[in-house]
Symmetry: C2
Subunit: 468 residues, 2 copies
């Protein structure tokens, strides 16, 4: 694989210096127009934006033309939102006018029977002839918060908001215009998103291409939503190359779900055991629900990996200490056994109700929290922390952000869950990039997947051998 060439090819999808939106007009409910509005008005995209429509009319300040050929200037990227039947013609136009990157957002292709498949084949044909790279068809488009670029249609308010808070998680979403909407939820919450790309029918570019690309662009965690896998070996190879954690939710696992996903491919797509085995081998972290795609990545940001299974639970609510222990018992992780030194140090602190695991404290000053963090993280029998807190006072948010520092120093992670004061918690989370989870189960799952990633990397390291 020409990795470099591939990256260069893909770069223009996210960072084009000029874009044409084909099919954008001033007609009511025109979807292409929403993209022009995003770029020209909502997020002040720094490049040129053009519109192509029958009348050659300007759209939200984007100069309009009757055809791509009329623009008369080089264009990096074409976004097509036109009826399926006319799309192949536009693709050829683009090819002939030197446009090498195309996002086809229109639907009506291979997902819609024989005629659609024929149209999609025509597109693939044109793309090959002109060495074009194509995302789609049948997709929502692209969002890049770092480069402040987006060709998501109909997502104006969302994009306006998310570009204010670029992050380090990048998503590849395979879904006919809809799974991409999951992303609306992803973005209501941390972690900040770097890029999101909806790959739709993936006639050309697929998830594996982006896994490779995301190793080059500041991405820290990759999230995949897949309905089928058409090129299993390619996905495994890309995953094995990738040094970042890759979280994947795959639908179509059950027979009914698989039928519903209307997978057109055999093999891995419909055989969950095969996919499961591939994930294990290539270190893909399989998720249990689409919610986890936005819930779990924060565990990999600013936090060391969990290098062992022994967890210290620390809470200011006895009830939740007990629940935390219960939830851990259902995972491969275990409750840490403290050294006597740890227990003694804890019992000397004011407000400590239980100086063993789970540690339970009453009302306490910030210093006490910090001392407990340090004692627990210093215990050689503790690999990580599950911290369940009531936000009795605002300073709890402050001590938690110091916890992040302490965790880095000790190279042990913590997962946090607050059972009250949710508004204050969300504010703190937004401000401080805390590994704060919305439910206790999520916090426990986060520790589990962190250890899974550690274990995978360790195994990989061993395989590679001491010579490397």
């Amino acid at each position: 694989m020409d990795t470099t060439g591939n990256h260069t090819n893909l770069e223009k999808f996210f960072n084009p210096s000029s874009v044409v939106v084909i099919g954008a007009s001033n007609a009511a409910f025109n979807l292409g127009a929403t993209i022009c509005k995003t770029l020209k008005q909502d997020i002040a995209f720094s490049g040129d934006v053009f519109a192509v429509n029958r009348g050659g009319e300007d759209v939200h300040g984007a100069p309009g033309f009757k055809s791509v050929g009329d623009i008369g200037r080089p264009v990096d990227l074409a976004v097509i939102l036109a009826p399926a039947a006319v799309v192949p013609g536009f693709v050829r136009d683009c090819g002939e006018n030197g446009i090498r990157n195309i996002v086809i957002e229109s639907s009506g292709f291979s997902e819609q029977g024989t005629d659609g498949r024929r149209l999609q084949a025509e597109i693939a044909d044109a793309a090959r002839r002109h060495s074009m790279r194509i995302i789609g068809p049948n997709c929502l488009g692209i969002l890049d918060n770092r480069n402040r670029f987006s060709c998501l249609y109909g997502a104006n308010q969302l994009v306006q908001k998310t570009v204010q808070k670029p992050g380090t998680v990048s998503y590849v979403i395979q879904s006919g215009g809809v799974g991409g909407l999951v992303v609306e939820r992803l973005m209501e919450d941390l972690p900040g998103v770097n890029k999101m790309v909806c790959i739709g029918n993936k006639s050309d570019v697929d998830e594996s291409d982006f896994i490779d690309y995301f190793t080059t662009d500041g991405t820290e965690v990759i999230g995949l939503y897949l309905e089928n896998v058409q090129r299993g070996a390619k996905l495994m190879a890309a995953s094995l190359r990738c040094p970042k954690p890759i979280l994947v939710y795959k639908s179509g696992v059950s027979e009914a779900g698989s039928a519903a996903a209307l997978s057109h491919t055999a093999g891995m797509a419909n055989n969950d055991a095969v996919f499961e085995g591939a994930c294990r081998q290539a270190g893909l972290i399989r998720l249990r629900s689409p919610e986890e795609l936005h819930a779990l990545p924060k565990m990999f940001i600013d936090m060391p990996l969990l290098s062992g299974k022994r967890i210290a639970v620390f809470t200011n609510s006895g009830a939740f200490g007990s629940i935390g222990a219960d939830l851990l018992a259902e995972t491969p992780l275990v409750m840490a056994r403290f050294t006597s030194r740890t227990r003694e140090s804890l019992s000397r602190l004011p407000g400590v109700f239980n100086a063993d695991n789970p540690v339970d404290i009453g009302p306490a000053l910030p210093e006490v929290y910090l001392q407990i963090y340090d004692i627990l993280l210093s215990d050689p029998g503790v690999d990580g922390l599950l911290h369940v807190v009531g936000m009795w006072r605002d300073y709890v948010a402050d001590v938690m952000s110091e916890l992040v520092e302490l965790c880095r120093r000790h190279r042990k992670p913590a997962a946090l869950f607050c059972f009250n004061g949710m508004k204050r918690v969300q504010a703190a989370r937004a401000e401080k990039n805390l590994p704060l989870f919305s439910t206790l189960e999520e916090a426990v799952r986060a520790l589990v997947v962190s250890h899974q990633q550690f274990h995978y990397l360790q195994k990989k390291e061993k395989k590679r051998g001491p010579a490397h």
Copy 2:
């Protein structure tokens, strides 16, 4: 058991015509004062409120006295928030002055070693002598949104808000002043709460007493958070008597969790298999997480029970249809097989992509949604609906509230999940009492527990025999 007498006894906890808060003063951070403020200022409680403190000073408008005996008028309920050591004396005072209902919120009793256990025994003694009923000690108090009464301490903003929206779910929370805080989250969201009572160390009144009581006060669903069960046979008997669904989350399930819960009782408390068996026999619906205590009750409000296992999935997103089918495959429920008539009716409608299960539609008018609901609910092979919707237009919320009507007519339930437009969704949920869930897993779980309740009632009916 003198059921009637018991109810009369308990009624005054929720609907007292006069209350004294013992330990309420104007000192900084005084917890009793927050209760006076709630009653006198925040929620305009209709009864009398008195304060007892050393100086006999008024607190937030509640007339102050140096002792209970000084009040000189009959008092229905005493709430005690004073250091543990002086609580037994206050309890005796109350008894001698004719107060028969007492909530002891102070901690420092059986949860804190020998001295505490001795104090708790003293209280129990006094209570017996004066035929008093006691909630606590070591608890957060009571909230009654219907009667607009609360003796939760430190929860002013919360109570002010929740009394505006009384509902039909009642909770019993066993947790030393903290599990009760779970309730803050419960109340951020629907369903509306009728009553919440925190039973703490349950020296006298326990969960079983309230299960009986909640059959008399307009409660539709009961939620229990338990750390231990001290009187297993009593709990089973009360559950078997109760015609309403009872959802229970019990902590202390694992060995570590159980140790953490510091159960002082043997038997059911520490033996999860025994508790599990008891739940099955007595129809208690066991929850998987504390979150489910607030997530699942709405399935039992305004919705028929799920009488069979065959679910129709209906979505305006193909991706989520597939995910829904996958999630159902992990439960005892199954994907319904449609009759050919259903498939034909569906395929005649505009915008229907998939006329089989899961039904998948594109952009469609409200009428189309309503027709599909009716077709699916009319299919004799369909027992219930899993409806996964994108809120593309505001009318989606409107058609969903019509769905609730249709479900009642067909006596088949629907569980709803919206994967975008969360703010609009939450507004709709608050306004229309929709069985809308925050995650797709929750919606599926709601169908599962609805069927579990149906199955239990059916079994119970059969046992009772045709004569009844």
